[in-house]
C-alpha cells in the first residue's frame, strides 16, 4: 500500500511524544510538554481522519463490500512453517472508526489538559503517559493479529495504571491503580488462555485467517474445535468465553467491574479519555473483532448478551444512588458499555439480523463523544468547586454557563432524547434487541429509563438546586481536601478547556445523523438505517418520565428523594454500597484465598521450601567445619598429604587402572 507510512505514523507519533517527554520532559520541556504532545497528536489525528476517509470512500470497498485491508506486516516470531506471530496493521470499518474516535478524543483531552493540569509539577510526565496510552490504543485497534492485540492490550492496561496512579502521593489513588491493574490482569489471564485455545485450533494468529478458518463448516479447524470438548463444553466455546473474560475485565462488565469506579481517582481528563471513551470499549472492540467466530458458538453469544444486559441494569441502579459525580459517570459508562455488549450478543450475521452489531459500533462511537463531554464537563465543575461530591455543588449554571449548556446536551444525548446522538444509537440497539430477544429488550428499556433519571439527577444537582453556602465565597478553596484542581482562579478555565467541550457538544448533536449502517456492518455490505417512529415512542417516553422524576426530585432543594430512598430502605442502601460486590471480593480474598489457600501455601513455603534451602546451607557448614583442619599451616603435613596422594595415584595407575 502506498499509504503504509502514513498509517504507521498514526500510532508512532504519540509514541515519539512518550519517548521524548518521558526521557527528557521533566528537565527540558516541563513548560512546553503540552504543546509538543498536542502538536504531535494533531498530526496523528489528521492522518487518522485522512486514513478513515480514504478507507471509507476510496479503496475500502470492493464490489460494495468493505474489505479487511492488511496495510503492512512483517514476521516477528516464526515458530514453524506457516505459524508465526506477525506485527502489522490491518484496516477494516471498525478499525477506521476507532482510529477516528481514539485520535479525536485523545486530541481534545490533550488540549483540555493544557489548562486543567496547568501548574502541575509532573506536567511532562502526564503528557508522556497520555502519549503512551494513545500509542497503545491505536496499536490495539490497528493490530492485524490476536497476539499483537494482546501486547497492546497489556500496554493500555499499563498506561491506565500509570495514569490512575498519577497522584501517587494520594493513598486512595495508589490503591485504585493497583486494584485496576490486578483486576484487569486477572481477566487477561483468561484472555491469554483463550487466545492460545483459539489460535491452537485455527493454526494461526492472524485475524483474517483465524476468522476464515473458524467460521466455515467445511474447515477442518472449526470441526476439531467444536468436537474437542472439556467438561461438556466445546473447545471453541471455551476459547471464546475466555477471550470474553479478558474483554469483560477491560470493559468493566459484571463481576469484573469493581476497578472502574475507583479508577476515577485519576485526573479527570484521563477518566474522559481512558475510562469513558477509549480503553474501556476495548472489550467491545475485541468481541466485535472476533464477531464472526462468536457467531459459531451460541452459548458464548448468550454469555455476551446476558453479561451485557445485567451489567447495564446493575450499573444503572447503582448510578442512581452515588453522590460522587465521577462515580456516577463511571457507573453510567459501565451501563452504556453493557448496552454495546448485549447489542453484540443478540446480533446475528448478515443484513437485517446484523443490526445489533452496527448499533453496538454506532453506540460506541456516539457514546465516546457524549461521555467524554460529560467527563470533561465534570472536570470543569470539579476544577471550579474543588470537590467531587454533588452535595458540595448546586446552582452552578450561573457561574459556568458554557459547561452548563454542553453538559445538558450530553445528558440529553445519553438519555436518548431526539435529535441528539444517543437517541439514534440507542434506538438501534433497542430495536435489535426487540427483534432477537424480548427479555433483553425489556431490561434494556428499563435501563434506558434509569439512565435518563440518574443523568438528570446529576445535572440538576450540579447546575440547579440550591448552592451550598460556601459557593458564595469561592475565593478560598473548600470541600474535600486532596482535590485535583490546580490554582484557584475562578471561571471556566479558558479557551483550552471550553473548546473541547463545545466541539464535543457539536459532535453529540450531529453524530446521530451519520448513516452508520453504510459503513459498519457484519458483512461489510451497506445496511439501510432503520428508524420506526412508532417504535421510538416507548423509550423516549420512558426517558422523558425519568427526566421529569429527576426534575421533581432534584431541581429544587427538597426532601422527596430522601423520602423515596427511605421507603426503599434496604434496597437503596444495598445500591448505595454497590451491592456489596467489593465487600464480597474482600471476603473471598481475605478469608478464602488468604485464610485457607494462602495459609497452607505459606506453611509449605516456610517449612518445606525454606527448610530444604536451610538444610543445604547447614549441611555444608557442618561439613566444612570438619574438613577445615586439613589446612593446618604445617608445611611438612602438606608434604605428607602430597606423598600419600602420589602413592595413591601410582597404585591407581599401576595396579588398578591398567
Amino acid at each position: 500500500m502506498s499509504n503504509a507510512v502514513e498509517i504507521a505514523l498514526i500510532p508512532l507519533l504519540p509514541l515519539a511524544a512518550f519517548i521524548v517527554l518521558g526521557l527528557f520532559g521533566r528537565k527540558h520541556f516541563n513548560q512546553s510538554a503540552g504543546i509538543i504532545a498536542t502538536t504531535l497528536l494533531t498530526t496523528s489525528a489528521g492522518l487518522a481522519f485522512y486514513t478513515a476517509y480514504q478507507y471509507f470512500f476510496q479503496y475500502g470497498k470492493v464490489a460494495g463490500v468493505y474489505q479487511k485491508v492488511i496495510v503492512f506486516k512483517y514476521t516477528w516470531l516464526q515458530f514453524s512453517e506457516g505459524f508465526s506471530i506477525d506485527m502489522g496493521a490491518m484496516i477494516d470499518p471498525i478499525t477506521a472508526m476507532m482510529l477516528v474516535v481514539v485520535t479525536l478524543i485523545s486530541l481534545l483531552v490533550h488540549i483540555y489538559s493544557l489548562a486543567y493540569l496547568k501548574g502541575e509539577k509532573r506536567f511532562a510526565t502526564y503528557y508522556a503517559f497520555l502519549g503512551l496510552f494513545t500509542f497503545s490504543m491505536l496499536g490495539l485497534v490497528l493490530s492485524s493479529n490476536i497476539f499483537q492485540l494482546y501486547i497492546f492490550w497489556e500496554l493500555v492496561g499499563v498506561s491506565s495504571f500509570l495514569l490512575i496512579g498519577f497522584y501517587y502521593d494520594k493513598p486512595s489513588a495508589v490503591a485504585a491503580c493497583k486494584k485496576a491493574f490486578i483486576v484487569t490482569r486477572f481477566a487477561d489471564l483468561g484472555f491469554l488462555i483463550g487466545i492460545l485455545i483459539l489460535s491452537f485450533y485455527a493454526g494461526t494468529f492472524n485475524f483474517s485467517e483465524l476468522i476464515e478458518r473458524l467460521t466455515s463448516y467445511e474447515s477442518s479447524n472449526l470441526l476439531t474445535a467444536i468436537n474437542a470438548s472439556f467438561v461438556g463444553i466445546s473447545a471453541l466455546t471455551w476459547g471464546l468465553v475466555l477471550v470474553f473474560i479478558g474483554g469483560a475485565g477491560k470493559s468493566a462488565m459484571f463481576p469484573l467491574h469493581i476497578w472502574l469506579p475507583d479508577a476515577m481517582e485519576g485526573p479527570t481528563p484521563v477518566s474522559a479519555l481512558i475510562h469513558a471513551a477509549t480503553m474501556v470499549v476495548a472489550g467491545v472492540f475485541l468481541v466485535a473483532r472476533l464477531f464472526p467466530v462468536f457467531q459459531m458458538s451460541p452459548p458464548a453469544m448468550d454469555i455476551v448478551a446476558y453479561t451485557g444486559i445485567f451489567s447495564a441494569l446493575f450499573a444503572a441502579i447503582i448510578a442512581c444512588t452515588q453522590t460522587d459525580i465521577k462515580r456516577v459517570l463511571a457507573y453510567s459508562t459501565m451501563s452504556q458499555i453493557g448496552f454495546m455488549m448485549f447489542a453484540l450478543g443478540v446480533s446475528k450475521t448478515g443484513g437485517e439480523a446484523g443490526l445489533g452489531f452496527t448499533a453496538s459500533m454506532f453506540h460506541l462511537f456516539t457514546h465516546a463523544m457524549f461521555k467524554a463531554l460529560l467527563f470533561l464537563g465534570a472536570g470543569a465543575v470539579i476544577h471550579y468547586v474543588h470537590s467531587n461530591d454533588m452535595k458540595d455543588m448546586g446552582g452552578l449554571r450561573k457561574y459556568l454557563p458554557i459547561t452548563h449548556i454542553t453538559f445538558l446536551i450530553a445528558c440529553l444525548a445519553i438519555s436518548g432524547i431526539p435529535p441528539f446522538a444517543g437517541f439514534f444509537s440507542k434506538e438501534e440497539i433497542l430495536l435489535a434487541a426487540y427483534q432477537q430477544n424480548h427479555l433483553v429488550f425489556y431490561a434494556a428499556l428499563i435501563t434506558s429509563g434509569l439512565t435518563a433519571f440518574y443523568m438528570f439527577r446529576l445535572y440538576f444537582s450540579i447546575f440547579w438546586n440550591t448552592a451550598p453556602s460556601p459557593l458564595e465565597n469561592l475565593s478560598k478553596p473548600f470541600g474535600r481536601t486532596g482535590g485535583e484542581a490546580h490554582g484557584d482562579h475562578p471561571g471556566e478555565g479558558g479557551f483550552a478547556m471550553m473548546m473541547p467541550l463545545v466541539l464535543l457538544a457539536i459532535a453529540s448533536c450531529i453524530a446521530g445523523f451519520i448513516p452508520f449502517g453504510n459503513f459498519v456492518t457484519t458483512d461489510g455490505k451497506a445496511l439501510a438505517s432503520q428508524m420506526h417512529l412508532s417504535f421510538s415512542i416507548a423509550p423516549v417516553a420512558l426517558a422523558v418520565t425519568g427526566i421529569l422524576i429527576a426534575v421533581l426530585f432534584y431541581k429544587t432543594n427538597n426532601n422527596k428523594a430522601d423520602k423515596l430512598a427511605a421507603s426503599l430502605n434496604g434496597f437503596y442502601k444495598a445500591a448505595y454500597r454497590k451491592f456489596y460486590i467489593d465487600e464480597m471480593y474482600l471476603f473471598i480474598t481475605n478469608n478464602i484465598l488468604f485464610g485457607i489457600i494462602g495459609k497452607w501455601a505459606a506453611w509449605f513455603d516456610k517449612n518445606v521450601v525454606d527448610g530444604l534451602v536451610n538444610a543445604t546451607a547447614n549441611g555444608t557448614g557442618e561439613l566444612s567445619e570438619k574438613i577445615k583442619t586439613f589446612q593446618s599451616g604445617k608445611v611438612q603435613q602438606y608434604a605428607i598429604f602430597f606423598l600419600v596422594g602420589v602413592i595413591g595415584l601410582a597404585v591407581l595407575f599401576i595396579y588398578i587402572w591398567k
Binding site: T629, Q631, S632, G633, K634, V635, Q636, A639, I640, L643
Partner: protein, 105 residues
C-alpha cells in the same frame, strides 16, 4: 680383583639417597636442612637417569641431558628457596617451620 659397580649398585645408592632425603624433609624443622634434603632427592633422581642411560642405551645421551636440566632447575630452585628463607627470617627471626604456622584456616 676389580669390583666394577653394576646397575644394581647404582640403583641401590639412588634409592638410599632418595629415602634419606625424604626422611630429612619430613623430620627436620630447619628450612635449610629441608632444602638440602630436597637437593638429595633431586640428586638421587639424577643418579637414576645416568645409570639407566649408561646401562640401557649406552650410545645415546638423553639421560645425561636430562640430568643437566635437573641440575640447572635445582640451582634456580635453590635461589628461590633461599630468598624465601631470608624473607621468612626477616619477618619471624627464625627459620623453623614449626614456628610459621599462622597460614591456616
Amino acid at each position: 680383583m676389580l669390583l666394577l659397580p653394576g646397575l644394581y649398585h647404582l640403583l641401590f645408592i639412588s634409592t638410599a639417597l632418595f629415602f634419606i632425603g625424604m626422611f630429612g624433609f619430613f623430620t627436620r624443622k630447619n628450612l635449610i636442612t629441608m632444602l638440602m634434603s630436597v637437593e638429595l632427592i633431586l640428586n638421587s633422581v639424577n643418579l637414576n637417569f645416568i645409570a639407566f642411560n649408561k646401562y640401557l642405551w649406552p650410545n645415546r645421551l638423553d639421560g645425561v641431558f636430562f640430568t643437566i636440566f635437573v641440575i640447572a632447575i635445582a640451582a634456580a630452585e635453590a635461589a628461590v628457596a633461599i630468598a624465601i628463607i631470608i624473607n621468612l627470617y626477616r619477618s619471624h627471626q627464625s627459620i623453623d617451620v614449626a614456628q610459621t604456622e599462622e597460614m591456616k584456616y
